[in-house]
């Protein structure tokens, strides 16, 4: 307990940063991921190829390497100068969106072809078909894995500690320099992560349960 009270400021600001990184990159990667999924199911072969290449490349690259790129290579592109936190959000977004893309795409693929055909036969427009027939059904198989992707994202934010972002992963470095008891310190970090992840896991479980019955 004493360690926690001594370092309460450090823990608070670190976990606040973690949550901020998580929230921003979650929104970002949901958007980018859905966009990529649209590319991957699009009727234009070039779009499909571009989406597939992106997903294959990013999914097979360690996240740390993506961070490396954003910290050291991106500034050379001289587009917009971004600070480290933004860089971390972008790196996390680009990485996670590849996984989200796959989740969404496979979700869409689980909807039987007949559903779309039937809705076209009924004269629904593309948007109507997508909005009221395909996506609601796809959602069922998308949301549970989506939640676990988000859990992974939450944990992945720790990697940014190595790239000048003071998130929960960086607590270790500060404690180590002070010679504090790392066993206690790191146990607390682990404990807080468990606290953060638990609600997400419960959400996932309950959704999975409810929808698996409906199937």
């Amino acid at each position: 307990m004493s360690l926690l009270s001594t370092y309460s400021g450090l823990f608070l600001s670190a976990f606040a940063t973690t949550l901020k990184l998580f929230a921003l990159s979650a929104v970002g990667s949901l958007l980018l991921g859905t966009f990529l999924a649209m590319l991957r199911v699009s009727p234009v072969p070039v779009f499909r190829a571009a989406g597939a290449t992106y997903v294959t490349l990013v999914r097979n690259t360690p996240l740390t390497l993506v961070f490396f790129f954003f910290t050291f290579a991106y500034p050379l592109l001289q587009i917009v100068k971004i600070d480290y936190e933004t860089g971390a959000v972008v790196a996390l977004t680009m990485y996670t969106s590849a996984f989200i893309c796959e989740v969404v795409r496979s979700g869409i693929n689980t909807v039987p072809v007949g559903q779309a055909e039937a809705s076209r036969a009924l004269g629904l427009t593309f948007t109507q078909m997508l909005g009221s027939v395909v996506l609601p059904q796809a959602m069922r198989s998308v949301v549970p894995p989506l939640v676990s992707t988000l859990i992974a994202l939450l944990k992945n934010t720790t990697v940014s500690a190595g790239f000048s972002v003071g998130d929960a992963g960086a607590i270790q470095a500060s404690l180590s320099e002070d010679g504090a008891n790392m066993l206690v310190g790191l146990s607390w970090v682990a404990f807080f992560f468990i606290l953060l992840v638990m609600p997400l896991t419960f959400l996932q479980r309950s959704l999975e349960k409810r929808w698996s019955v409906a199937r």
């Binding site: 050291f72 190595g162 790239f163 000048s164 003071g166 470095a173 320099e177």
Partner: protein, 296 residues
């Protein structure tokens, strides 16, 4: 099956790669001083470490491998060089072991005490700051160099002249390290201008591409970087902390420690120390202050 195919692929890749090999080194990497002749008939009685060295016939020295100019392993030749290495070599020579009888062992900061306690290395030379906490576990001979927190800037920098001119400038150091904490706690620059990366060489890369304006840590480390790429960077030379570097030894070995103190004192007097400095860190263009030995 998987393992075999992977092995085959790796082997093929390896062969393809090595087909166009190049030996040697592209340039000066850290500097070496004229080598010391190994002393003969050295007698040190009552030193367990020395007995071990004698039985083995070789000296095992713990060093750093990633600090140019100090303790650095050249990736193209796998040879060690730098100021710390030269000091380590000097000690070995004076107790009767030439360069061909030295085995270096790269040990990162976090594992130093343990390596000495376990006896994995006979002694350790590598930016090892002498302090009371460490003296409880091991012992030190030194200081053989008095370092202090300083700033590394680009050679053409004029605005930064010392720690009080950092306001509004971007400063980089290693995540959670003491130097960067000092910058933050003393408010030497604004929090948003602080960059924390994993290694000093990453900070130097950022300094080179102008993403940061200064790198801060012990001047010895900074001088090493300045010496490695002469003319690109300079060290400000106004240290604002005190980091006496010592040679780490097993705690109980007072005899060998005494011997090392003798060697260091002699080297400071007869100019050997200066030669070593000039050939390594001195290439950065910064002058050295000789350390004052503190026997205990």
């Amino acid at each position: 099956m998987r393992a075999r195919t992977l092995a085959a692929v790796l082997l093929a890749g390896g062969l393809a790669l090595t087909a166009c090999g190049k030996e040697g080194t592209p340039g000066d990497t850290g500097g070496t001083a004229p080598s010391q002749a190994a002393a003969t008939d050295v007698k040190i009685d009552g030193s367990p470490t020395f007995d071990k060295i004698k039985a083995r016939g070789r000296v095992v020295i713990g060093v750093k491998e990633d600090q140019p100019g100090l303790g650095f392993k050249d990736p193209t030749t796998n040879k060690y060089s730098g100021f710390d290495i030269e000091i380590a070599k000097l000690m070995a020579a004076k107790i009767g072991y030439g360069e061909d009888k030295i085995d270096y062992k790269a040990i990162a900061s976090a594992g130093r005490e343990q390596a000495l306690i376990n006896g994995d290395v006979d002694y350790y030379v590598g930016t090892y700051t002498i302090n009371a906490g460490r003296k409880e576990k091991i012992s030190f001979a030194g200081p053989y160099y008095t370092a202090g927190q300083d700033l590394l800037v680009r050679a053409d920098e004029t605005a930064i002249t010392g720690k009080d001119t950092l306001k509004g400038k971007k400063v980089c150091s290693v995540t959670g390290s003491t130097p960067i904490k000092k910058i933050r706690e003393e408010g030497l620059t604004e929090p948003e201008n602080i960059t924390e990366l994993q290694t000093y060489s990453q900070c130097v890369a950022k300094l080179a591409d102008k993403s940061v304006d200064a790198v801060t840590t012990d001047d010895a480390i900074l001088k090493g970087f300045a010496a490695q790429e002469q003319g690109k960077f300079k060290v400000i030379g106004k240290p604002f902390s005190l980091e006496p570097y010592g040679i780490g030894l097993a705690k109980d070995d007072t005899v060998l420690r005494g011997k090392f103190f003798d060697i260091l004192e002699a080297a400071l007097k007869d100019g050997t120390w200066q030669t070593i400095y000039d050939n390594t860190l001195g290439k950065s263009g910064s002058a050295a202050t000789k350390p004052i030995i503190e026997r205990y």
